[in-house]
Each structure stands twice: as C-alpha cells, then as structure tokens.
C-alpha cells in the first residue's frame, strides 16, 4: 500500500539523516519501521534496493561508505549538509520577484516545479508577501524540450532530436553539443555545435519534433571560450544591420518603420523620407511590404529589386 511505503521511506530518511555513522543494510532492516514486513532476506533486499533508488531519484543525497577500514560491508547515511536547503534570506523586493517568477510558467510541469521550489523556500523561512495586483508576466517552456535541454547543457551531454528548420520539407535528425538555452522574444532557443555539420547552430525549441534525448556521457561537451549565446540567438533572427535603406513613407503612415528609422526628413508633398538600417534585402522587404503603396523603397537598388519582385509575385 502506498501509504505504508511512504511511511517506511519517511522513517528511512529520518533514520539516515539522524545517524552519524554509516548503517549497513542489515542494521537498517532492524532499526527502521516497516522493513519487518519483508518475509525473507531476498524480499528485504529487493525492497531496500528499490527504496534507495527512489530516494536518489528524489534528489536525496544518499552516501555509501564504511565506518572503519576493517569493515567490508558498506553502509548508508544522508549527510545533513548535502540534504538541507542552505540558509537563504530574501529582502521583501527579492521575495516578491521570486514569487512573481514562480507563477510565470504557462506549462503545468514547470509551474508545478516552481511551486514546489517556492514551498521549500517558505519552509526555510522566506516570506513571500502578497504579489502586486495585476502584474502577470509569463514565460512559456516550449514543451518538454526545455528542461531536458537545460539539463543536458548543465551536465555537458550531447543531445539528439528531430528538427524542422525554417526551409526543411521534412524534419531532420540532429545531434548537437549543447552550449546553452536562450529565451529571446518569447521563445526558447538552443545554441550549440551541430555535430554532423561541425558548425555553430541555433535551434528554436518549438520546431523540435518530439522530445530531445541526451546521448553519451556527462562532461563530454565543453563550450568554447568567448561564446556569446545571446548574440548568437539575436543574430539568428535578425542579422546585424549592415546597410542603410532610404524609404519614402506617406505622411502619418508607416509608423512601424518610422520607429526604427535612424533619420526622418520631409519629402515631396504628403511624404517623408526615412533612413532605416537593415541586415539584408530580403528582411527589409519583409518589413516594408505590409505597408503597400504607403512605403516605397528608393534605394539601394537591390532592396528596391527585392520588394518589386515580391510585389510582382503577388500581383501575378
């Protein structure tokens, strides 16, 4: 029965935390309530093995060792220092930030993990004041991929996943040495070395098909020095501005373009002329096209050409 087992595990944790010396499996069987239910040595062994595994899965630091050199039967204990959350004191504004952060996740599993963490902090004496009314920042996890990848980065393990790139007709299997996971403009990205291509790549988590899998040993991946994850991700979607375009914008229109303009001056009657930096002609066209006849690129020629070509494709 689940409750009986929970009771036994709780007693086991208390006993192993309390003991200073290592306790052998045999000693634990005698001491801890619940193991007397095991009908045989074999049954006890299985029971205890499973319990040990569960404690480790829950993150409880179970130590193995012997009390002296002449004992050969290993014993167990839990070091209090490794078990317990270290003392933590948060100023009211810091506690508010943590409280706000804990309710930011929109995915159920991350949200549950954040709530568990918050309860532990409160159990350790941190006081979370009522949060500011009406303030609700959100962070999405991008599905189950996020914790798996963050963990792989942390452990320095390679990952494999199926990925549908922007121009891919079919999803493709990838093997990546992960360097970091970056939140940018409301999305998570993985940055790393694409092992098949031996090149730095940025992957959007929402384009991964299914769940990524860690592969190989921990500590196998080392991030090269000087890698700037944020810069790699922000250049993934918008290459750094390289050129300046001159665009004629109808008065009172093209506000989205005007906001990014480096210069605005008066043009022919009813028009302004703005200057805009842009990474490449294709991206400039993406920005200008929605404004139709209200925004006309004057130069450079390759940008004009890019816009005209796409308008022709549409006008057919």
């Amino acid at each position: 029965m689940a409750a009986r087992r929970t009771e036994r595990l709780l007693n086991l944790v208390i006993c192993l935390l309390h003991t200073r010396s290592y306790l052998t499996a045999e000693r634990i069987r005698e001491m801890v309530a619940g193991y007397d239910e095991a009908p045989s040595d074999e049954a006890y062994k299985r029971m205890f093995e499973r319990d040990k595994e569960d404690l480790r899965d829950l993150g409880i630091p179970l130590e193995t060792g012997t009390n002296s050199a002449w004992e050969d039967e290993p014993g167990y204990r839990i070091a209090r220092r490794d078990y317990a959350l270290p003392d933590i004191t948060l100023a009211p504004a810091e506690a508010t930030a943590v409280g706000l952060a804990a309710r930011m996740w929109s995915s159920a599993s991350m949200s549950a993990a954040a709530t568990r963490a918050l309860r532990k902090l409160e159990a350790a004496g941190v006081e979370i004041a009522p949060l500011p009314e009406g303030l609700q920042p959100r962070v999405e996890s991008g599905g189950a991929a996020f914790p798996v990848l963050a963990e792989a980065v942390h452990d320095g393990r390679r990952v494999t996943f199926t990925y549908r790139g922007a121009g891919d007709a079919e999803p493709v299997a990838r093997t990546v040495e992960p360097w970091g996971v970056v939140w940018w403009h409301g999305r998570w990205y993985l940055v790393g070395l694409d092992a098949d291509k031996s090149a730095t790549r940025v992957f959007r988590l929402s384009r991964m098909v299914g769940e990524p899998k860690p592969k190989g040993p921990s500590g196998a991946v080392t991030r090269p020095d000087g890698v700037n994850l944020r810069a790699l991700v922000s250049t993934y979607d918008a290459a750094s501005p390289a050129a300046v375009a001159v665009i004629r914008v109808r008065e009172g229109k093209g506000l989205g373009l005007r906001r990014r303009a480096v210069n605005v001056s008066a043009g022919p009657a009813g028009w302004d002329v703005i200057e805009l930096t842009y990474p490449d002609a294709g991206r400039l066209a993406d920005q200008v096209l929605p404004y139709g006849a209200d925004a006309v690129v004057l130069e450079p020629a390759d940008a004009v050409e890019a816009v005209v070509q796409r308008l022709q494709a549409l006008a057919g």
Binding site: A2, R5, T6, L9, L10, N11, V13, I14, H18, A33, D57, G59, A84, L85, L90, E94, A95, A97, V98, L100, A101, A102, M110, A113, A114, A117, R119, E122, P132, E133, G134, L135, Q136, P137, R138, A150, E151, H154, R164, A166, G167, V181, W183, G186, R187, S206, L229, R230, L255, R259, D286, L289, P290, G292, V296, R310, A313, L314, A315, G316
Partner: protein, 322 residues
C-alpha cells in the same frame, strides 16, 4: 507505488513548512500545498506515526491540533527542507531571468539579487551561461516602468499608441488594470477613455506614456472583465481566411492561432485562421508577398492583389521620373 514517490517530497516539505508556520489553519495549509483537506489530514496522520528508530513517544513527531489549526513539533531531523531539485531550481532561475528580459517590469536590482542568492542556495544550479535570456530591446524600459508605476499607484495614463492594423498613431487616456507578458512582449489591459471600453495594449507599440494626476477609476465589473480578457483570442464571429504558405512563410502558423494546418508536403502549409479585421489580414498578406497567398475568401485575395499592383505602380512612377 508512484503514490509514495509523489507523497514523500510533499511530506519532506510539509514538515519544515509547518514548523516555520505554526498554528496555520488546515484549510490554508491544504491550499498552500495544492491538496484537499482530507489528503492533508491523512498526511498528518502519517507524519504522526513517523520519527526516530525506537519509535517511542519521544521519538515520534508530534502533531498538535488547536481547533482547526495545526502545529508540529519534535521533528528536528527533517526541520530543514530538502535542497532544490534541478527542475525546481531551473523553474525559478529561468523565470527570474525571463523577468530580467522585460526591463522596467520589476526592479532589476532585486531580481538580480534574488537570482544570486538562489543560485548560491541551489548549489550548482543553472548558470547564466547555461540558461540565458536575451533582453527585449524593442520595448522602451521606461514605458514599461511608467505603466507599472501607474498600475501600482492606481493612476491614469496618457498614451500615444500605434495601431499597426490601421498604421496610425492614436492619443488616449487609459486607466491601467493589469500588465502581462506574452511571447516576451509586455502588454497592459486598461479602461480606455477614448473608446469607453476595456482594451489591451502592446507596450512595444506605445510611443509615449505619461502618468496623469487623475486617479484611475475602474468599476469592479470592468476590472473583472479585464482580468478575463487578454490577447486576441479568435472569435467564432471572426472571418475565416485560408492562406497558402511556402516553407519560408511557415512562421505564420507559429505566430498566429490557426484553426487548421494542412501540410503541403514540401515544407509549406495551408492554414485556416480567424482574421481580426480586414486591414490586419491585408497587411499580413502583403508582407507575405512571394512567400504565401490568400486562397479564400477570393474577394480578399483580389483586394490584396490590387494593393500589390498599386504599390508596384508607385515604383514605376518613381523609376520613370528618375
């Protein structure tokens, strides 16, 4: 079996929590732990049976009831909570960093201090290099901070706001009711005095915000409605539009809620989505020129074609006059 694995971490948190929150009403404890009062009572009965080997009266944990309030004692061994597991540390650390990604929303120094303390307490938690956040550089942190201030002080703001669908700047007074972020962009919902209704504003489209001396006056039922509404959610009444998207325009399906997505087989997709209004979908379709096209309704497709021709003729006039 899985019951024990779920229950043990809860009990190991419940014990220190009760020790640091003596005499808390049972209902509050249950709420805090997201369990029923009945479940809490059986948790407490179980705790009461556990303790140090020997299991005599001095060894077992004590649960003390005082009317509907509960306290705990004699639980020194597990008086401290178990350290954060890696998923717990990740959930807090990553969310705090995401909070830093929207400057102005909360005090940056407090978030950074909290992060540093948590990282120290979590011991080997995810570093800023492993789980990073690139800051939103589009939205003016001052605009965000101004609205956040007005919200906390219950003051009205004057807003110069860009409406992209109509490509116009509007001036309006708004009583802020709540702020949220979606896809990393900060928004606020407020009572808009220009339209006399609740509206949602994207702060990256706020051209200027000033806090006014007037107090915000929001009737209670409006406030409730503002909390219920958020981003554009497709309405059954909105018109369905079908778009045929090349692989390079697939992002549309990522960004907008679609009613239906059909794979074309070459990486492209055909999507059906609800249009907010005509100008919005027209601008979307123009921006997709050469990468995607409106299939249905045909009248909209023709309208977009006409707009493209009009734009093209502007280019002809200019090149002709050179």
């Amino acid at each position: 079996m899985s019951g024990a694995i779920d229950a043990l971490p809860r009990l190991l948190a419940l014990v220190p929590w009760l020790l640091s929150h003596p005499e808390t009403p049972v209902a509050d404890v249950a709420k805090e732990f997201g369990i029923t009062e009945q479940q809490l009572r059986s948790d407490l009965e179980l705790i009461w049976m556990c303790g140090l080997p020997g299991y005599g009266p001095g060894d077992l944990m004590d649960v003390v009831w005082h009317e509907d309030r509960v306290s705990l004692s004699n639980a020194d061994t597990i008086a401290k909570p178990l350290r954060l597991t890696s998923d717990e540390a990740l959930a807090l650390v990553a969310a705090l960093r995401a909070l830093l990604g929207v400057p102005g929303l909360v005090e940056t120094a407090a978030v950074e201090a909290a992060l540093a303390k948590l990282e120290a307490a979590a011991g080997g938690a995810f570093s800023g290099d492993e789980v990073a956040v690139a800051v939103d550089a589009v939205t003016d942190p001052e605009v965000v901070a101004t609205v956040a201030d007005a919200l906390s002080q219950h003051r009205r703001v004057h807003l110069r706001y860009w409406v992209p669908a109509r490509d116009e700047a509007t001036e309006r007074d708004v009583d802020p009711i709540r702020m949220f972020t979606s896809d990393g962009i900060p928004y606020f919902v407020g009572w808009c005095h220009l339209v006399g209704d609740v509206r949602t504003f994207r702060l990256d489209r706020a051209l200027k915000v000033t806090v006014l001396a007037d107090a915000a006056e929001v009737p209670a039922e409006v406030r409730q409605r503002a909390f219920d509404m958020g981003l554009f959610t497709p309405d059954e009444a909105d018109r369905l539009v079908t778009l045929d998207l090349d692989p390079s325009a697939r992002w549309v399906a990522d960004y907008h809620p679609c009613e239906e997505i059909t794979e074309r087989g070459d990486g492209g997709v055909v999507v059906r989505l609800r249009a907010r209004d005509e100008p919005w979908v027209r601008r979307l379709a123009l921006g997709l020129a050469g990468r995607g096209r409106v299939i249905d309704p045909p009248a909209l497709a023709a309208d977009v074609r006409r707009a493209a021709e009009e734009a093209l003729s502007a280019y002809r006039i200019i090149s002709g006059s050179d």
